[in-house]
Amino acid sequence: MILLGGKSSTEPDFISAVARASGHATLLHCYQCGKCTAGCPLAFGMDHKPNQIIRLLQLGRIKQVLGSRAIWICAGCWTCTTRCPCGIDIAQVMDSLRVLARNEGETVQGKDVVSFNELFLQSVRRNGRVFEFGVFMGRNLRRRKPFLDADLGRFMLTRGKLRLTAERIKGTKEVRRLFSRQGAPVRNPKERTKE
């Protein structure tokens, strides 16, 4: 049951945060044609389909959105954005939702994704580049599945495709400085300013 009106459950700050990052004016324009869902290669695996995510956002259903598996299943293929008749950057909305979910600590459904991404960024932060082998091993250790994709690892190793030591760039200091500003707001270029 969605309760609205008076002391409604809408939280304008949150919606505007998503909107700021994803094209404010157009988010409200969604008329639920479903084209995003129709073209989404992963909609079959989602609990809330992409159009429903937008709908829930229009109604301010934050908990439902952040708690959904869908935002972590989105592969970021941008098919939805490319075809949306309302010009809504749905892929960017999904990205924003993942960022917000992590900020809010709502990552139960996406813990594998977040964990992998953290390892990835740690690697970049440390070396300036991603150390693939390190990330994969780290992931397997975190998930306590040391031999996940071991067949692939073996194959890569025999083809000389897996570096076993990290390569560090010279400008790691600069890269670390960039990391120091994590969380700074970035307005989506698609956002239309209202004035």
Binding site: M1, I2, L3, L4, S8, A25, L59
Partner: protein, 661 residues
């Protein structure tokens, strides 16, 4: 027996590819009366027509049979050929060998051939019995009656009057302006409704060619196209408008206070009142049912105070008889009576559940709240407003099946007005589909969403009062979840229905209504302003729900039709009408009630039979201006006195005989 010529057309391979046209022509030559028979590739072509003209001359033909395509296509073409040849154009009969034969029986050419011969024999049999027919001429009264003084009636009246024709504009309310003048702002441009309609009202009232009757009703229409007679009842106003200056003393001092119908009960007015400050005419009427002088026998305040001495409690209804050549019906729409049907929305018991039109009056600066949006229950400003669309519309079970067309847009406009006038307010709109068909409409709808209106796809199931709140139970069908809103005010988008009394108007004029009671146009696409009754046209929402631009367009369309009719010197009548053989008529008048056009009236004739004294008796007579030629009366006549020209009993029986050889 007249001399008949038969012309069989191949229509290229359309007929010639299936039927043996020379064989048909050959066989036709043996039919009674046929003195000439031939075939040709395209009889409708120039050389084909010349063939007929020449044959008429050469063979002294008196009747012509063309066996080709459907008469619905080329009957008029060939009638002109006869006219050019000096024959009466009604001496033509066609056999439909294409649509009814070659095109539908290509697989059975032998049977088709036999059928074709039969069809030509039928045509020849009828042709032998055709009589010359002559269209009559009737004069035209150059005056137009417009029934209904809303924006449609006003627009038609102005356009017709501007063309130099006289107009009688009749409105039953004390002011013209109709529903439009009650509205606040109009979508999608948000221009003020009164600002754009009151100048037109004034223009109509002041136009030298327009005679305005307000507080008046058309009670009877007789006559026919070009020559109608209208009887108009001018209801007693109890105020002599010739003396009244519209100073306003009376209506400010009237001690009576009753719910104001113009404001849909949201405000109050006196017994002597004008509907609204810009009313046209800007002079009051006394509502006798509430006048204290009438109910209690004492008061008379208005009469005492009137400086012009215009109050006349003894005034009586008056009647005006007028001749008009054309009638435009512009009686408008009313609102679906939701209080009788929608118990789940409270049957009108909850004061804060209002209709869209009430909202219009409320948000109108000259309305009962001076433009303040407030809860009728408390006078307080609502914070959360819920709009419910399609109340009465698109509800086959209890309302109307159709879409009322303008509600989506006025609801969007209301949402905009709430958000604009009440900062921080919440607006929810429950809809089934949002239909924004007009120019700039979709853009307006989007703008309202930008302003924060939350649209929820689903129909509200129930509204109930919970303390000072209204609980609205709906569903978001896009999410498949139930929705509950605690609202301060609920606005219902009640659909449009024909104006009260539309059925009486239809009966009075003799025009059909559709299944929903709207007046039926002659053709839904190609004759949208005409009716099946000659000289009667439709304008605006009486024909079906429409928005203001469409209403005004149709009104101007109706005006153009009126001008097209009334600017002629005289009208040609359709000669295919019924006629009474008065010698056979017994005067039983069984024919009269079956006539849909009331074209049959009894007349008294003086009969002089040889050797007897003249005697008077009643017979039926057909008014050829009214008769449309259906022939229903011919069957009702027991004496066989009525026949239909062009489709006579003799002709039809001959056709039957020819087909059943």
């Amino acid at each position: 027996m007249p001399r008949i010529g038969v012309f069989v057309c191949w229509c290229g391979s359309n007929i010639g590819g299936v039927l043996d046209c020379p064989a048909i022509a050959q066989e036709a030559a043996s039919f009674p009366g046929v003195v000439f028979s031939t075939e040709y590739k395209y009889v409708c072509s120039d050389p084909g027509q010349k063939l007929i003209v020449d044959a008429i001359k050469e063979h002294r033909l008196e009747r012509v049979v063309v066996a080709s395509c459907s008469p619905r296509l080329h009957e008029e073409t060939f009638r002109q050929v006869l006219r050019r040849s000096g024959l009466n154009p009604y001496f033509l009969e066609m056999a439909n060998l294409r649509e009814h034969c070659s095109w539908v029986h290509p697989d059975t050419p032998e049977q088709a051939q036999r059928k074709a011969v039969d069809l030509v024999r039928r045509a020849a049999a009828k042709a032998a019995r055709l009589e010359p027919l002559f269209p009559g001429k009737i004069p035209v009264v150059r005056r137009c009656l417009v029934i209904g003084g809303g924006i449609a009636g006003i627009q038609t009246a102005l356009d017709v009057a501007d063309a130099g024709l006289e107009v009688l504009l009749v409105e039953r309310e004390p002011t013209i302006g109709g529903n439009m003048v009650k509205l606040d702002k109009t979508f999608p441009t948000l221009d003020c409704s009164a600002c754009i309609s009151t100048p037109k009202m004034v223009a109509a009232a002041q136009h030298p060619n327009i005679k305005l009757y307000t507080y008046a009703q058309v009670e009877e229409i007789t006559g026919y196209i070009g020559n109608f007679k209208a009887r108009i009842r001018q209801k007693a106003r109890f105020v002599d408008h010739a003396k009244c200056t519209g100073c306003g003393t009376c209506w400010t001092k009237c001690p009576v206070s009753v719910p104001d119908d113009f404001n849909l009960g949201l405000g109050e007015r006196g017994a002597i009142h004008i509907p609204f400050p810009q009313a046209v005419p800007n002079k009051p009427v006394i509502d006798l049912a509430h006048c204290r002088r009438s109910t209690r026998g004492k008061c008379g305040a208005c009469a005492k105070l009137c400086p012009a001495g215009a109050i006349d409690y003894e005034q009586k209804d008056e009647f005006i008889e007028a001749e008009v050549g054309a009638i435009v019906v512009a009686t408008g729409y009313g609102l679906f009576p939701w209080e009788k049907v929608y118990g789940e929305y409270g049957y009108g018991r909850f004061p804060d559940v209002i209709t869209g039109l009430m909202f219009e009056r409320m948000v109108n600066a000259s309305g009962p709240t001076s433009g303040k949006i407030q809860r009728p229950s408390s006078g307080k400003e609502p914070r959360t407003v819920v709009f419910i669309q399609c109340v009465g519309s698109r509800d086959e079970a209890r309302g109307k099946e159709y879409c009322s067309r303008f509600c989506c847009m006025y609801t969007a406009k209301h949402a905009h007005q709430v958000l604009e006038k009440i900062p921080g307010s919440e607006v929810y709109v429950f809809y089934i589909d949002v239909r924004t068909f007009g120019k700039g409409y979709e853009e307006f709808y989007r703008r309202v969403q930008d302003e924060g209106a939350v649209y929820i796809r689903g129909r509200v199931s129930k509204v109930y009062q919970d303390g000072s709140k209204l609980i609205v139970k709906g569903a978001d069908t896009l999410l498949g979840e139930q929705v509950e809103i605690a609202a301060d005010m609920v606005v219902l988008a009640t659909g449009a229905v024909p104006a009260a009394g539309a059925a009486d108007v239809a009966r009075m004029i003799g025009i059909p209504q559709d299944k929903d009671g709207f007046f039926q146009e002659a053709h839904p696409k190609l004759r949208p302003v005409e009716t099946h009754t000659g000289g009667v046209f439709l304008a605006g929402t009486c024909q079906g729900p429409k928005d203001i631009p469409d209403t005004v367009s149709q009104a101007s369309g109706a005006a153009a039709k009126v001008c097209g009719l009334l600017l002629k010197d005289e009208l040609e009548t359709n000669p295919l009408v019924s006629r009474v053989n008065e010698a056979l008529c017994t005067g039983c008048l069984a024919c009269q009630p079956v006539c849909p056009y009331r074209a049959i009236q009894p007349v008294t004739i003086t009969e002089r039979l040889p050797g007897q004294p003249p005697r008077e008796r009643v017979v039926a007579r057909v008014n050829e201006g009214l008769c449309q030629g259906c022939g229903a009366c011919t069957v009702a006549c027991r004496a066989g006195a009525i026949d239909l020209k062009g489709f006579t009993n003799k002709q039809l029986l001959a056709e039957v005989d020819a087909l059943c050889l």
